[in-house]
């Protein structure tokens, strides 16, 4: 095990840089250190001007997503030992505008999340006297996987369609929509399908599948989208066969 490892970190200071440049730092190697530890060492001891986001440092908040050697990773979960011999390249998440150093603007992402109506939609809200909406474990199991998303945006950084078509709603948002579609308490599937049955919605996806590969919470957004496509397609077929029917 080497005593130190080199980190090549992307820097971008809008007040002085035209475009991002790489700066190399030598950080101590510890076999229990992750890239986030190395970045914090740089900020504490080597270069206080380095800017990056992080919070829980344990893989539940979704703040510390960055490109590590070209792959989107949570830096709090990317061990230095897995990226030896180095240099380890750290860049901001792909397909987002860079604000500064390793910080990207996520306004677009937040707008896309809101677009899919990520809440329980009901035609008739039950009055309080009727009590809670009850749900069996089997009903929970149907959507549970898609509810695990921590909004870390690694899937957006992995999806080429996000980069090619800025309007594309993206994996996390569609998985979130599907999470509500499959929730037994929800009655908003039709509304969401109308919003997402579009080239910017589910039909922009070409099932590259990288979103699922990089998701740290095993949400499987690619699965959510393909299942959603099947639902959408069957809905379209039904509308052909029963043009005046069950709408």
């Amino acid at each position: 095990m080497p005593p130190t490892v080199m980190l090549e970190v992307s820097r971008y200071r809008p007040e002085q840089d035209d475009k991002p440049v790489f700066q190399t730092y030598e950080v101590p190697f510890r076999d229990d250190w992750v890239v986030l530890d190395a970045l914090n060492y740089i900020k504490d001891r080597l270069d206080g001007s380095l800017s990056f986001r992080w919070s829980c440092r344990m893989g539940v908040c979704g703040s510390c997503g960055m490109m590590v050697n070209g792959r989107p990773k949570l830096t709090c979960a990317a061990f230095l030992s897995d990226h030896l011999p180095g240099p380890i390249r750290v860049e901001p998440l792909n397909y987002f505008p860079i604000m500064r150093d390793l910080i990207v603007d996520i306004t677009d992402f937040l707008e896309k999340l809101k677009k899919v109506k990520p809440w329980i939609v009901r035609d008739q809200v039950l009055p309080l006297e009727k009590g809670e909406y009850r749900q069996t474990p089997q009903q929970l199991d149907v959507y549970r996987q898609f509810s695990q998303c921590i909004n870390c945006m690694l899937c957006y950084a992995a999806c080429p369609v996000v980069g090619l078509e800025p309007g594309f709603v993206g994996p996390a948002a569609i998985a979130l929509a599907q999470r509500y579609n499959l929730d037994s308490r929800d009655e908003g599937a039709k509304q969401r399908l109308k919003i997402l049955s579009d080239h910017a919605g589910i039909w922009g996806c070409t099932f590259v599948g990288e979103c699922t590969q990089v998701c740290p919470k095993h949400v499987d957004p690619a699965g959510a989208i393909q299942q959603y496509k099947l639902t959408g397609a069957l809905d379209t077929l039904k509308s052909f066969l029963l043009p005046f029917g069950t709408r």
């Binding site: 475009k19 590259v208 599948g209």
Partner: protein
């Protein structure tokens, strides 16, 4: 493609990276994806050669004999080998992705992906054997 940060009305100095023309060469997973998508070209190729064969069959024994002779040319054999490789890649990726797109539930529990994919392979072998039998033994 300009390297300079793009000016937008609200965010004057955020740096917007451009998608390179050969974006799909930058990552092994993307290369595999593009190869998978290109299998459709060879699928179309075989559909059209099947149509060509059908038309030769319809035109009579001489036309069909000429068609069969053409198939033996080295260039066609080479293309067929490449096409077979791509078509097999299509089959394998298609079956492996089926469990992601279609969730099968039996008595409330999700059927494991390997079983969903595996059953596709089993049916494929059976269907292929049936077709091969019909075309080699089933007709005189």
């Amino acid at each position: 493609m300009s390297d300079l940060a793009q000016y937008t009305p609200y965010h004057p100095r955020w740096y917007r990276r451009r998608m390179p023309v050969l974006w799909w060469l930058k990552d092994r997973a993307y290369v595999k994806f593009v190869l998978r998508e290109l299998t459709s070209v060879f699928v179309a190729f075989f559909a059209l050669t099947s149509l060509w064969q059908l038309r030769a069959l319809a035109q009579g024994p001489d036309a069909y004999a000429r068609f069969v002779a053409r198939l033996k040319a080295p260039i066609f054999l080479a293309v067929d080998i490449v096409a077979l490789g791509f078509v097999l890649f299509h089959t394998i990726t298609w079956f492996n992705l089926t469990p992601t797109a279609m969730v099968v539930r039996v008595r409330g529990k999700r059927v494991p992906d390997m079983i969903v994919a595996g059953s596709n392979y089993v049916v494929w072998v059976l269907v292929s054997a049936a077709v091969a039998w019909i075309l080699t033994r089933g007709v005189k």
